[in-house]
């Protein structure tokens, strides 16, 4: 094994070692010991990622096997690494955000009895996520895919006594399993038709795959590649929370805020985006699949954004914003702008982690009150949180020169250039989405940081339910909120330093990297774009440097819409707070639709969950109980019983009766004999 290979191996193994130490020996090494070993592990992963990044930049990529997991027939199931530009970018993002979240956790989970367990879980997550992005084959991809799902499950249910948390984590796992179901079938189709699970070997046969068709229903052949891509994308829909498999993500906010930032915003939920970008050589061959991706993404981008507008829980606003932004990334995938999707994935990881951690800081300051209606004017008390959140929000709405501007604007332009079916709809969605994003982001910003100070008042009328569960507000483990007269306070340095360190890339990373990543050759040979979908080339032809792009950005429609959103939010929530309530009254049906989140949850609970239970009961009582046991088994037994009861009548045990029967028999025999 070469030196570099040892480094590759150490990147995931260092956090794993930290996770094992904190998990199994947490009691022995104590709280400080646990956060030291896990942070050390993740820090090693981050530093090594930088080393590997420089190595990759020098042109050294790697694709090789670490060990053979199993073999069967001609199929090799292996564990191996693919280290290229896409991988190393993901490694940097994952290990950096994870490191920030680890440090932040020291402050956020300070009083929690499950301190060691929490550190163990987030390090285990980091390991799983790194295995996922570094994989060179579908098996390991699936391994990482499910492993991050497991850790997400464990972390959403971290406060395991809260009914809402343990409901949410099971929901998250099961909805993800629905996605994985499709994903596994996609992998199965790949294996069955190429005889390999290795990316490079599969991609080498992509053209042969494109020539094949599969008859799913008699008489209607489908292009095999379309079926494969749609199956794989269903996996992405689960993990990256695309409509209609998005329902788990808002509920996942039941978990502690650091993991909302790390798992449910910055990294895990982007695994689906990463996966599709990785599979670009396959997706490029099926316009049908791309259209499917596009429409799903566009729907998510706009319609999930609407839901952000009516949330009052600070974390839920950010959660819906994450859904919407994931939709943007998916839209980019659909129009073959994979590099733009990955670019937005990266910028989003920074500013969304920042927004979540900022929200977490606010929650600490508010003594674990998450209701924005109890906040206001926090800028005075939490200056660092305020400023960094402002930068995060500006990045999110795509303010020129900030990172989110470069990535989001590129996506919008790419959609504009695209001609695949659904592009028109998608363009409308992403444009309208800009306004919606700006509106809900700054609604949150103004409600939290500006205006009247509404905290420290006796709670009264604010308990009309918002979100899924009526008892959500009271269910928080240590929810108290500020006592009357109490003031919020700025969070300790372990919280604010990560905020600052995340704010820096949120501001500058787009400006610095758009040229190489989107317009240059960084992803050449890694992300494949067919000549039929030249959106990135068209984008590059109009690009004249990041400064020109940002300056031009001030004159475009998205900027106007974003500013309109900010101004209207300011007007509604700072100047004339009566307006939103009035709108709510006038458009009651729409409000109800949004309040119930388009009734997805209700539908799933009644028809899917309820239906499954009903079916199970029916099969159990009806099938097993009545038919098989009732009729077949006990029926047979009863029949045997009846026959034996009849025969028992004859076997009375009285000799005179037997003798009598014998005599009759002899008599009958004699009669036959003589008459015959």
């Amino acid at each position: 094994m070469s030196d570099m290979q040892t480094l590759y191996l150490m990147v995931p193994l260092a956090p794993l070692a930290g996770a094992i130490l904190a998990g199994l020996f947490g009691k022995t090494i104590g709280r400080a010991g646990s956060h030291v070993v896990t942070i050390l592990g993740v820090a090693i992963a981050f530093v090594l990622s930088i080393v590997i990044y420089q190595d990759v930049q020098a042109g050294n990529t790697f694709n090789g096997t670490i060990y053979t997991w199993a073999t069967s027939g001609n199929l090799k199931l292996e564990v191996g690494f693919l280290i290229d530009q896409l991988t190393v970018m993901m490694m940097l993002v994952v290990s950096f955000v994870s490191l920030m979240v680890h440090v932040y956790t020291i402050g956020y989970m300070h009083d929690d009895p499950g301190y060691q367990r929490f550190f163990s879980y987030i390090s285990l997550f980091t390991f799983s996520m790194l295995m996922l992005v570094m994989s060179n084959n579908f098996l390991q991809l699936f391994f990482g895919w499910e492993a991050v799902g497991l850790v997400s499950y464990l972390l959403i249910g971290f406060w395991y006594t809260r009914p809402t948390a343990i409901y949410a984590n099971m929901k998250a796992f099961l909805v993800n399993r629905v996605g994985d179901f499709g994903f596994l079938l996609g992998i199965g189709l790949v294996a069955a038709n190429t005889g390999s699970l290795n990316y490079a070997e599969v991609f080498a046969q992509a053209d042969q795959l494109a020539a094949k068709s599969i008859e799913l229903f008699p008489g209607s052949p489908w292009l095999l590649i379309t079926v494969i891509c749609i199956c794989l994308f269903i996996g992405a829909m689960g993990k990256s929370a695309q409509v209609p498999l998005h329902v788990w993500l808002p509920d996942s906010m039941e978990g502690p805020t650091p993991i909302s930032a790390l798992i449910h915003a910055a990294t895990m939920v982007t695994a689906g985006i990463f996966m599709v970008a990785r599979m670009s050589p396959l997706f490029e061959l099926s316009d049908t699949a791309l259209s499917f991706v596009l429409v799903i993404g566009a729907t998510t981008a706009l319609f999930m954004g609407f839901l952000g507008i009516i949330q009052n829980d600070i974390k839920r606003v950010v959660a819906y914003s994450t859904l919407s932004q994931l939709g943007y990334m998916t839209v980019a995938l659909g129009v073959s702008a994979y590099s733009a999707a990955v670019f937005h994935l990266m910028t989003h990881a920074f500013f969304k982690a920042l927004l979540f951690l900022g929200a977490g800081s606010v929650i600490i300051g508010m003594h674990h009150d998450q209701d924005m209606r109890n906040m206001g004017g926090l800028w005075k008390y939490m200056p660092i949180t305020w400023i960094t959140s402002l930068f995060g929000s500006l990045a999110l709405i795509g303010f020129p020169f900030l990172s989110g501007f470069y990535s989001k604007d590129s996506i919008i332009e790419a959609v504009h250039f695209s001609h695949i079916p659904g592009a028109g709809y998608a363009y409308f969605c992403v444009i309208a989405g800009v306004f919606v994003t700006a509106f809900y982001s700054f609604r949150m910003y103004f409600l939290v940081f500006h205006g009247k100070e509404r905290f420290g008042q006796p709670h009264d009328g604010h308990h009309d339910h918002h979100g899924d569960h009526e008892d959500e507000e009271v269910s928080h483990d240590h929810h108290h909120g500020l006592a009357p007269g109490q003031k919020p306070h700025e969070s300790p340095w372990v919280v604010t330093v990560p905020l600052v360190l995340l704010a820096i890339p949120s501001v500058i990373i787009g400006f610095m990297t758009i040229e190489p990543m989107l317009m240059g050759e960084w992803f050449k040979g890694v992300i494949h774009m067919s000549e039929a979908h030249p959106v990135m080339e068209e984008l590059a032809s109009e690009f004249h440097g990041p400064v020109a792009m940002a300056l031009h950005g001030f004159t475009t429609l998205p900027f106007m819409l974003a500013m309109a959103g900010v101004v209207i939010a300011w007007f509604f929530y700072m100047i004339a707070p009566g307006i939103p309530a009035a709108i709510q009254r006038i458009f009651k049906p729409i409000y109800l639709l949004l309040e119930n989140k388009y009734f997805f949850d209700r539908f799933n609970e009644i028809f899917i969950a309820g239906g499954a239970r009903l079916l199970g009961k029916g099969l159990w009582k009806g099938g097993d109980g009545m038919l098989i046991d009732g009729v077949a088994v006990n029926g047979t037994a009863a029949l045997v019983g009846k026959v034996s009861r009849l025969s028992r009548l004859i076997q009375t045990g009285h000799i005179y009766q037997y003798a009598f029967v014998m005599i009759i028999g002899v008599f009958l025999l004699l009669t036959f004999w003589f008459t015959g």
Partner: protein, 493 residues
């Protein structure tokens, strides 16, 4: 390879040891009985280990063969041997026996010597089933193994144990009667041989093959158990003591599946091919239908019993899609299910010993009082749901991949287990383990002790080790499975 008769040792060490344990008599000598039982079980495992070490993975022919005349008049021989298909089960069985003896250490306080003896003798008999190469020898072991299990359920079982024991006994006995007919027919047809390997080469007409296949099917399907002859299993599990459930799930269910590979497929290959759609359909019904039934169970043991049926559906599915992924995946699934279902029943046993209830509704918030136990239970629950990194994943993954080759919709139906398996397992886990302390019983729970920790930890290591590195297991299978597939592909007509 030395000349040691390892297979005979694997069979007779537990049986003889079991008789010695039995001889210790009444419960006054219970401590002695336990110690002898443990020593015997460990010795049984130790004599089985050379089977793996000395195993030659390059040949598909039988290894560690022992041949001696038994009843020469009928040409019945004491003929033993293992190949890649059967060897691992001897190991698994010997291993599980050690676990079961430890698990019954304190829990069983009545008729200790008889309890331990029953398990040891059963272990020897089951090793006999996996290594017998003579039809009658197989049949004798196959039937004889019913008796200890019958006694275990009937004596140490729950309130409804007699119904369950008789249902178990009759169900499986009736199933195997036709097998005896088939064995005798094959004896006559082959010109007076009970050698199973001779039967593999025996040309048979299609009609005869179908008849033989059906006769074996009835016997094996009950054992597996396949839908719709599965209803004895939940009853048997519910009434059986923990150890009985462990052996039942981990080993006894594998006997039927093993029978398909040793008898049905090689002896009647054409009929197997022709009947494959039927078996595949029944297997898919087991996976889908039973998945939903498991979801609504209120009794933890019943839930795991139904989950066993669904998992075994994967095994029979894998066998009858006739490709290496399918059969090897199915075999891996059998081994893995041995660990996982055993562990699940042990976990339920741990709770039952404390609260004396298997009702899900009687629990809630167990994690608050038993955090160590909750961690183990989580691992096994996830393994039961087929999470990658655990052994439960490999078999399902391979069988699904294999079924895609066979037919997309078959794979589609099979893959629903990803959802249903997770749903029934995690929903149970949530209701039992998570949440606030539900009642006084849960509040008074004591976390697992050293003995419980030991056997759960050993199983956890097995589940994880196999999940992370299954190659040592799959390497054993390759040659034999490929030979079997080659054999099945050649028509006997």
């Amino acid at each position: 390879m030395t000349g040691m008769p390892y297979l005979s040792l694997a069979i007779w060490v537990p049986i003889v040891g079991g008789l010695v344990v039995l001889a210790t008599g009444s419960d006054r000598n219970a401590p002695l009985a336990r110690v002898i039982a443990l020593v015997t079980a460990i010795a049984g495992l130790l004599v089985a280990i050379p089977l793996y070490q000395g195993f030659d993975t390059t040949t598909s022919s039988m290894q560690f063969v022992e041949l001696a005349p038994w009843i020469p008049y009928f040409n019945i021989n004491y003929y033993l041997g293992v190949d890649g298909i059967s060897m691992l089960f001897v190991l698994l069985n010997s291993f599980i026996t050690v676990i079961v003896v430890i698990a019954g250490w304190e829990v069983i306080q009545q008729r200790v010597s008889q309890y331990m003896a029953a398990f040891l003798i059963m272990s020897g008999l089951m090793n006999g089933i996996f290594s017998a190469l003579d039809g009658i020898l197989f049949y004798v072991f196959f039937e004889a193994s019913l008796i200890p299990m019958y006694l275990i359920i009937g004596i140490w079982g729950g309130p409804n144990r007699v119904y369950a024991a008789i249902k178990f006994f009759l169900y499986t006995l009736l199933g195997s009667l036709l097998m005896l007919v088939a064995l005798i027919y094959l004896f006559l047809e082959s010109g007076g041989s009970f050698n199973i390997l001779d039967w593999h080469k025996l040309p048979l007409a299609m009609g005869v093959q179908v008849a033989v296949f059906v006769a074996f099917l009835l016997s094996f399907a009950v054992k597996v158990p396949m839908w719709p002859v599965h209803t004895w299993l939940p009853d048997a599990h519910v009434e059986a003591p923990t150890g009985g459930s462990v052996v039942l799930a981990a080993i006894a269910l594998k006997l039927g599946a093993y029978g398909f590979l040793r008898f049905s497929l090689p002896i009647a290959p054409d009929a197997s091919q022709a009947m494959a759609p039927l078996i595949i359909t029944l297997s898919l019904i087991a996976v889908v239908y039973i998945g939903f039934v498991a979801l609504v169970q209120t009794d933890m043991k019943k839930l795991v019993a139904y989950s066993s049926i669904a998992h075994m559906g994967f095994v029979t599915l894998g066998f009858f899609i006739f490709n290496p992924l399918g059969i090897e995946g199915a075999l891996v699934q059998m081994i893995s299910h041995g660990f996982i279902s055993g562990a699940m029943f042990l976990c339920i046993g741990v709770l039952y010993d404390r609260v004396h209830s298997r009702n899900i509704a009687d629990y809630g918030g167990v994690v608050n009082t038993m955090p160590k136990f909750a961690a183990f239970f989580m691992l096994f629950a996830m393994a039961n749901a087929g999470l990658p990194g655990t052994s439960g994943f490999i078999g399902e993954f391979m069988v699904v991949l294999g079924s895609v080759q066979y037919n997309f919709w078959v794979a589609f139906a099979a893959a629903t287990t990803l959802i249903t398996g997770a749903a029934y397992t995690l929903w149970m886990y949530k209701r039992v383990v998570f949440g606030d302390v539900a009642n006084d019983h849960v509040a008074e729970l004591e976390d697992i002790g050293a003995r419980e920790f030991a056997f759960l930890a050993v199983l956890a290591i097995c589940v994880l080790a196999m999940g992370l590195y299954p190659k040592p297991v799959t390497d054993v299978l390759h040659t034999s499975v490929n030979e079997l597939l080659r054999h099945v592909a050649v028509s006997k007509l």
